[in-house]
């Protein structure tokens, strides 16, 4: 399998503090990789570096063997890296449909002046986009809620909607930031099904998550970050028994394995 995403000695300093320190990390096509670690281990910063929100201090990021270090966030997004945020970061005032509709922004080919004039070619293109939105919503099981405001959805649905929006960009790589946090068991089960469905559709996924059960179940491989460094990377079973990992978690008193 080809390597989709690779970081080489990726480092980020905030002031004098290393949030991410010389992390080498690889994601191959069509796998689900988990990224775990105690609070403050640098997982979210790592995501922010990949999606271009923070400038990298040193190191390189390769996506499909292309160097994307220092590329702006919206360019990275249009290359095919999508991201669903930690909490429900949505367009709260918009309907579910419009939320997903916004996700299709990078997929219009007609030039902007035509869009301004609402020419028939543009209308046709938008019609196509609307159908695509319907498909995504159906696929993710939100069809019943299409006209509700995102603000008024239950928490679990909001998180699924977040994934929907990311999926609308037709990504090659999907970064999921804590998709299971704050969910009931039933909602978690739904989300797991959603993630599996996405994987089956051929999208590569990286998950940052605290919910070990879900991570263990979903991931093909797990990497562990602690204090900005990668301390382990292996199959789920091995990770569970890795002494350094257990030490990291026990030492921080945060989470139990």
């Amino acid at each position: 399998m080809k390597t989709l995403l690779e970081t080489r000695k990726l480092t980020k300093f905030f002031g004098g503090l290393a949030a991410v320190h010389e992390v080498d990390f690889q994601v191959r096509e069509s796998e689900i990789v988990g990224l775990i670690g105690p609070n403050g281990a640098g997982k979210s910063t790592f995501f922010n570096l990949i999606s271009g929100f923070h400038p990298v201090t040193t190191g390189t990021i390769l996506f499909q063997e292309r160097d994307i270090t220092g590329v702006k966030a919206h360019k990275i997004a249009s290359l095919g890296i999508a991201r669903a945020f930690q909490a429900a970061t949505l367009f709260m005032e918009l309907s579910v449909f419009d939320n997903v509709f916004n996700g299709l922004h990078g997929h219009y080919h007609e030039p902007a002046w035509k869009a301004f004039l609402h020419l028939s070619s543009v209308r046709k293109e938008e019609q196509g986009a609307r159908e695509r939105v319907r498909e995504i919503i159906d696929f993710m099981g939100l069809a019943d809620h299409a006209d509700r405001k995102a603000r008024n959805l239950p928490h679990g649905h909001q998180k699924i909607l977040g994934v929907c929006i990311a999926m609308a960009t037709a990504p090659k790589l999907l970064l999921l930031d804590e998709p299971f946090t704050g969910m009931h068991p039933e909602e978690t089960a739904v989300m797991i099904r959603v993630v599996e469905k996405i994987r089956d559709s051929g999208v590569t996924i990286v998950i940052v998550e605290h919910n070990m059960e879900a991570v263990m179940r979903l991931c093909d491989r797990i990497a562990v970050l602690n204090q900005g460094r990668k301390i382990a990377e292996a199959e789920p079973q091995e990770i569970a028994h890795n002494p350094e990992v257990i030490e990291a978690y026990l030492g921080s008193d945060e989470e139990e394995l």
Partner: protein
């Protein structure tokens, strides 16, 4: 934007156009017509503000760009001898060019800094208009001719000018409406509602904001061009920061979430209330100030939120979730 609200909007626009088009037949007060014309100009300025707001930016410099339009148009007519009808689009173009250059510098400024920097740009423009004799200095420009007549129609009276500004306003509204309903407008609203998320959806924040800045300034420039030839005199202080602040109040009073009807209502109120209170003589500003404060406190969503407030046409509860909302907002905030 769903079909229902579009239909409603078109009906509202049609009715408003009809009423406004027939207005001169019902009144013979030229003072009233003057106020209506000023209202139309102010509406165009308010629309310019709310377009930037739709892209998540707040400007306190709209009056400066208004001034660029006014001065360009006046100078082109006075010094280069062009016809008003040529000078008007050129004025809008010149304003857009200045906005492009200014935007390159200030669009990147974070949040509140952008607000103050637009204010500074406005002050700079006023100083430039005042300091250089080319622009007429602090005394300003005098005897700017009225728009050139088209066939039998002359633009010296109020009525012809009124129809002219009404046409400009209509064009302005339609163009802005077309933008808001296109993917450009959707990208703006995405930026306003959640800039971070919009960025991950491959929306180029800088470019879209710059486009909003340029287009909104061009709208203000267009209004300025008309203003110069209607008012026939210009002086730098017409375009000072305090005017910009009023422009912002138009949108706030009307309702910030109503990009087009908001400024219409707000500008009408801010233009007419002080005139109604004129009989209060020297205490007029105290009364106007009180009205402003009361409106802001009691109707924070703007005048247009009144129907919602009173419970008309509400399909979905407005603040359905009170406790949960703020928790979500907190979480949302931490992501940023």
């Amino acid at each position: 934007m769903n079909r229902g609200s579009r239909k409603k909007g078109i009906i509202a626009l049609g009715c408003a156009c009809l009423i406004l088009a027939l207005l001169p037949f019902f009144t013979d007060s030229r003072y009233f017509m003057h106020l209506i014309i000023m209202t139309c100009i102010n509406i165009m300025l308010g629309l310019s503000f709310s377009m930037l707001f739709s892209a998540g930016l707040v400007t306190m410099g709209a009056a400066g760009f208004w001034g660029i339009g006014a001065y360009t148009s006046a100078l082109l007519v006075l010094k280069a001898g062009l016809s008003f009808w040529v000078a008007m689009p050129l004025a809008a173009l010149a304003t857009a060019c200045v906005a492009f250059i200014v935007g390159l510098v200030i669009i990147r400024a974070p949040g509140v800094a952008f607000i103050i920097q637009t204010m500074i740009v406005n002050m700079i423009l006023v100083q430039v208009f005042g300091h250089f004799e080319f622009f007429g200095g602090w005394a300003g420009l005098l005897d700017i001719p009225a728009p050139n007549p088209i066939g039998p129609i002359t633009f010296t009276g109020k009525t012809a000018n009124y129809y002219l500004i009404l046409m400009l306003l209509l064009v302005n509204i339609l163009a802005f409406y077309a933008l808001y309903t296109s993917r450009i407008g959707r990208a703006w609203s995405a930026i306003r509602l959640n800039a971070r998320l919009a960025e991950t959806l491959s929306v180029d924040l800088f470019r879209y904001r710059l486009v909003a800045f340029i287009i909104s300034s061009a709208g203000a420039g267009l209004a300025g061009s008309f203003y110069a030839h209607y008012f026939q005199t210009l002086e730098p202080n017409m375009f000072n920061v305090f005017k910009s602040i009023y422009i912002q109040i138009y949108s706030i009073l009307g309702g910030l979430n109503f990009y087009i009807p908001g400024p219409v209502i707000g500008a009408a109120i801010i233009t007419f209330v002080p005139e109604l209170l004129r009989i209060g003589k020297e205490i007029e500003p105290i009364l106007t100030g009180a009205v402003l404060i009361l409106l802001v406190i009691f109707l924070p969503g703007g005048i247009l939120s009144l129907p919602d407030r009173l419970g008309f046409f509400t399909k979905e509860p407005l603040a359905a979730s009170s406790g949960k909302n703020s928790v979500q907002e907190q979480q949302e905030k931490r992501v940023l």
